[in-house]
Symmetry: C2
Subunit: 331 residues, 2 copies
Amino acid sequence: MRATVRDVAARAGVSPKTVSNVLNGTFRVSPDTRSRVEEALAALDYVPNLSARGLRNGRTGMIAVAMADLRMPYSAEMCHHFVEAAAGRGLHVQIEETAGSGEREVELMSRARAQLVDGLILNPVRLETTAVQRDVNLPPVVLIGEVDQPIVDHVWIDNVAAVRELTGLLIDQGHRRIAIVGTGPMATAQLRLAGYRKALRSAEIKIDRSLLVPCEGWHSTDAAESFSAFLDRHEPPEAVVCMTDTIAFGVISALHAHGLSVPDDVSIVGYDNITDSATTVPALTTIDFDKQRFADTAVDVLLSRIANPAAPIMSVTIPYRLIERASTATR
Amino acid sequence: MRATVRDVAARAGVSPKTVSNVLNGTFRVSPDTRSRVEEALAALDYVPNLSARGLRNGRTGMIAVAMADLRMPYSAEMCHHFVEAAAGRGLHVQIEETAGSGEREVELMSRARAQLVDGLILNPVRLETTAVQRDVNLPPVVLIGEVDQPIVDHVWIDNVAAVRELTGLLIDQGHRRIAIVGTGPMATAQLRLAGYRKALRSAEIKIDRSLLVPCEGWHSTDAAESFSAFLDRHEPPEAVVCMTDTIAFGVISALHAHGLSVPDDVSIVGYDNITDSATTVPALTTIDFDKQRFADTAVDVLLSRIANPAAPIMSVTIPYRLIERASTATR
DNA sequence: CTGAAAGCGCTTACAG
DNA sequence: CTGAAAGCGCTTACAG
C-alpha cells in the first residue's frame, strides 16, 4: 500500500520524527541523514496524508470561498483571483455556493467548524446576515462586501460612492431621466441604490420610483426580461444605471429589441468591469477595481484572523475607479 | 474547548461507539438511547472533526475540480453545476486552476493522492496529457473532454461532430469563405478544427489555411485582438466559426470595429451556449448541451471509480444540440 | 542532532 | 443493542 512516514523512516534507518523534520524543516537535520531520508522518500513515492496532518495540527491548508452564484462572470473572476491568492500562500480553495440562502450560510459556518477548512471567505447576500451572529462560536470568517454591523472582518469597496460617481457622470452628460436596473433586497442592490439616490439628490433631480426596476435574478437574461417589460409600459429613459455589467448586457439587449441603440438613444453604465465589458458592442462604462488585490487582501485578513482569533475586527476598503467607454454619451 | 464524541458519550452516559452509531446510523440504536445522545449532541454543540473522520475512513467527502481558467464563463458555469452535483451527493468541491500547465496537473494528482480529496475531475488542456500516465499510481480521476488515449474514465461531448454540424449550417446557408478562430494546440481546438475540416471537405470546399486564425488566449479580448489583426491583413470572410461563445463575442467586437455587422455582412457561430449568448446583440447560434447532466455524470463516474478502482474504464458521451439564433443568416 | 512515546478525534472489528 | 480496545498517519513535547 501507500508509504507512511514509518516506512520511510525504516528504509532510511531513522526515526519517524527525523522524517518529519526533513519534511517540515522544523529542525536542522545533518546533511547525511537528510539525503538518506530524501532518497527513501523518493524511492517509496511518499505522499503525506493530509487528513492525518490536519488532525494533528488543527490546520488543513484549505479555505472555503462562498459566493452566491458561481455562474455570474463576476463571481467567476473573483474565484479565479481567490484561487491565485490562496495558491500564492500555499493554500487550497474549497468553493461553495450560497445561492443567497441564509440557511446555506449557516451550514457553511459549521462546515468550517468541522475543520476541513481553516477559514471562510463569505460574500453575504443580505445586509442582515442571519448566519453571522455575535455570541455564536464562529470559525475564522472574512466577509466580502458590506454588511450592517461589522461583527467580523470584512473587505469591501465603497459601493455607495462608486455608484454616486457613475450616476454623476450621466448627470454631467446631460441625462435627467435615469433608470436603475436590479433593485431588490440584496445588500449590493441596496448600497448601489443609495449611491444613485445621493447623486440625483445632489443634482436636485426628483426620484421617480417608476424608474427603479427590480430583477428576479441578476443574470443577463433576467435583466433583459425585466427591462423589456419595463419598456413595454414606460417611455424609454435617457440613461440607465445597471447594478452590474451582466445586467447591463441584458438591458442593452432589451433596448435593441425595442429598436433603441446605445449610446445614441440611451446611455448605459455597469459595475464590476468584468473581462467581456471591454469588448461588447458598445464597450461598457463601468466601475473597475483591482480584483487580485481584493482577493489577496481578503486572504491575508483571513490568515491574520486564523493566526490571532482574539485580534480586533479589521475592515479594509479597496479603491475603485470609473472607466469611461463607449456606452455613455452626452445628450 | 470543542466537544468530541467522547464528551458527548460521557454526557449521554453511553460509549463513544454508540454516539458514532447515532451519528452515522450504521446500527439501530434504541429510541431512548438515541434521544439521550441527541440531547447531548445539541447541548454540547457537537460538530464532527472531518480530518479525524477522513483519517479513519480514508474518505474526506471532498472532490477536486480542475479547470484551465476559472474566469471563462464556460468554466464558471461548469463549476456551478459541479458544485450542485456534488452537493446533491453530500460532497464538497475543491477548485483548482491548471492554467494549461501540465506541471500543475501533476501536482493536482499528488494532492488527490495526499487524500484531502477523494478524487479529481480534470479538464485537460492538451491531447497528450503528460500528467495522466499509465503505470503511475493514480488517484481516482475523471477527465472531462477528449484525450488521446482513454487511460482513465472520461465524460465528453462529440466536439468533432458538433462543429461539423455548425459548419455545415453555414455552408447550407450559402457561405463558402468560412474562417475559424481560436486554433491552437489545445485538445479542444484540435477537435473542433477537425470538425470544421470535415464539413468543408464533404462540401468540397478547399481549406484556405489563411482562414485558420489562432488566438493567444481564449478570452474575448484575446479574440478581438487576433481577429482585428486578421481583418487588417485579409478580406473579411463570409462566416466565422468560433471555438467558443466567448471567442465569438470578441470576433463580433472586432467586426464591428471594422464597420462590419453580424449577420448582415458576416455570419458567426459559437460553441458552449453560455448564459449570455442568448442576450447578446445579435444572439448567438451555438452548440448547447445539458451542463447539469454533464456534471452529474462526471461526478457519478468518479464515485463509481472511487467505489471500485479496479473496474474497467468508462467513457460517457453527452449529447449536444445546435441552437440557431440571430448571428447567422443565409447569404 | 535524534529516538520512543503519546495523542489529535474518529470508527471498525471484536466481544458480550 | 452496547462497551472496551485498537489504530488510521501524523507531529509535538519529553528525553537523551
